[in-house]
Amino acid sequence: MGIKWDEFFITGDPLILGSQIAILLTMIGAVAGITYLKKWKYLWTEWLTTVDHKKIGIMYIISAVLMFFRGGMDGLLMKAQTARPEMEFLNSQHYNEIFTTHGVIMILFMAMPFLIGLMNVVIPLQIGARDVAFPQLNALSFWLFFSGAMLFNISFVIGGSPDAGWTSYFPLAGKEFSPGIGNNFYAVALQIAGIGTLMTGINFIVTILKMRTKGMTLMKMPMFTWTTFVTSILIVAAFPIFTVALALMTFDRLYGTHFFTVSGGGMDMLWANLFWLWGHPEVYIVALPAFGIFSEVIATFSRKSLFGYKSMVFSILGIALLSMVVWVHHFYTMGSGPAVNSFFSITTMAIAIPTGVKMFNWLFTMRKGRIKITSAMLWALAFVPCFVIGGVTGVMLAMGAADYQYHNTLFLVAHFHYVLIPGVVFAVFAGLYYWWPKMFGFMLNEKIGKWHFWLFVIGFNVTFMPMFFLGLNGAVRRAYTYSAESGFAPLFMLSAIGSIVLAAGFAVFCYNIYWSIRYADRNISSDPWDARTLEWSTASPVQFYNFAKLPEVKSLDPFWHMKKKNEGLTLHDSEIEEIHMPSNSWVPIYMGVIFGIAGFFLVFEWHIAAAVAGIGIFAGLIIRSFDYNEGFHVKKDEIHRIENAWRKTEGEVHDHVS
């Protein structure tokens, strides 16, 4: 209980001292810069209090890129430490902290917000809606995610990082074996972010069920909308389990209960079960939207309708269902016996069937298509072979008996990086190159994009391919060093070199953003890829009300057919009506801040202060309950002016594929 002030700031490590100074300078710089440019009001009214799904999406994506940087630095530090045997770059404690934060940040604060960001930007546009069902709740989701992410990230300079792995297995993660406050950060920060994610799931289910434009039946929805819908269902079905698991962890650590402890009748494997009951669906929560992005990109650049649309939908549903009944494959070595392990082996292998169907559908979509090799398409192309390697090694791991050999080795680590990097990171890059012009009105540079692509893909393979062989040779995961006699040194060195190439790819990506912001052509068409779905039928960047007139859908790939038949592209003055839009609100960001403060006090087990901040949370809820702001109406004149600005000639759509 109480804060030990001498342990408040982490001291004594030059790397961390450097980070503390860097963070301080960045903060001072940001505040000074915004003040100098007099941008506080702009920032507040246009971004921090916004309820516009596109801006919220962009904030998610910016956060995700920052978190990618943080998680990537963790990865590089690990690779540096294991580059040579018996290295003394990081000590074992520091290494434990870094692989823990790497895992948590990459999954929950990089992959999730990146995908949710793209979902936010694209989904209402794809279904022809003007916003999500609950715009203010959407902002709350973002601020809770952001609050959780920041709380988690400060752990390495204030109080100490969690160090029990991203899975935080008990008894290691309990108070008995991890007495510091590091794991409190894990329990509390992920709880706050998780509430935000749950709200996102609810929001998108209702949005997709109720806000589709006229004529868009469920089986006419774009594939990204379908995957988002099923992912949202998975979020609602799986995240409450994590909420409970984290709450019980918090009780064990802060209030001395015995859920997962060794003493008092607790059961440590209960944590592993609960964690993976959420954790395995979570893998598909990030993978399914990524599959949706690939479906859009491949169809667009093959200039064909997606092959096997119905089988795609049923595959998604099959994957979602199976994802809930495979969790035990993460701990076959728990010793549940052959019957249980066999059951979970079979369900796990069964996932390969719908996934295989999807693979062939993508390949058949490309068959006889007029393929355009753009940066976005390159990511989709590279995804196919890389993900297959991840999938096939997954089937190897699925065999319960064989898993006793692979368990806890780098083979597993290589496997899931081969699943998650092609399956999620390639997808968000593809999505970013694809939808960037829709978000910002200019394209990312294609030439730099190809450098980004090749460096990243080659670096990725060189980094993780050797880890399969290291794992088969017996190199265990989460070990901070190894002996020279083990013979692991050459492959570890190769892997470390690969990680530098990978990082160079990421650096080129950042440079591409910088270059494109400064120099890219602003005078582009609203449909630069000659695309197929409704988001391309409106302006780039999209006007705040999305559509002056809600489009009407008659078939799949509606915009493609609108262009073919030249109907529904024009807007007559008589069709313009006043549009009702929601107002900005300060409540979501306030809730994010107050949740962050309450969480911070709870991490330090300063209960009275946490309770006081908790009152602030309830105050926010009450203010929201009494808020009867019903939004505002956009006048016809304004719509007229905005529409005329981008429809240079009525109905004209310029092709602009580089």
Binding site: K210, G264, G265
Partner: protein, 203 residues
Amino acid sequence: MIMSAKVDTSLPLEYQTEQDRMNILGFWVFLGAEIVLFATLFGVYGVLYERFAGGPTHKDIFVIKDVMIQTVLLLTSSFTMGIAIFEMRRHNLKGLITWLVITLALGAGFLFMEINEFIHYAHEGATMQTSAFLSSLFVLLGTHGAHVTLGIGWATMVIIQLLKRGLTPTTARKTFIIGLYWHFLDVVWIFIFTFVYLKGLVA
């Protein structure tokens, strides 16, 4: 926020606007998440319920008479909540508020009994820290109790809005949603009564 100003007056008040229909559907989805949450807590209890670690067992601490009173109070409150919504459909604001207040009073009675029950357990030496069984018992009951507490506070806010604004599509929707929430808590209690108390007594 009413995205579409279209009002369909052939429907009950709370369903008349598109935004209100979406809010109600969203709340049903939220209740789905709540079902998963409580199912997980029941699962945890099911795993740990015989792990006494030398501490008191179910039979040592449960007082079935008090539990019966709690059950009657809560089930009756669900019924009165039903009447409240019925009065709302009849556009009878006074009846609605009266029955809502009765509902909350019954809920508060339940809560009072539950807090006494916890104090009684603590006197018996049965606290959250005693054993895995008691940890899971307290957290399961406590989560339900916290939901009831939150529901009372929330419904009070809605009553204030009803008094200030009368029955509008928005206040009707808010009342309807708190009704759904209240019935849900009742359903959870039926499971607690069965799988915690009754099962504990026959174990």
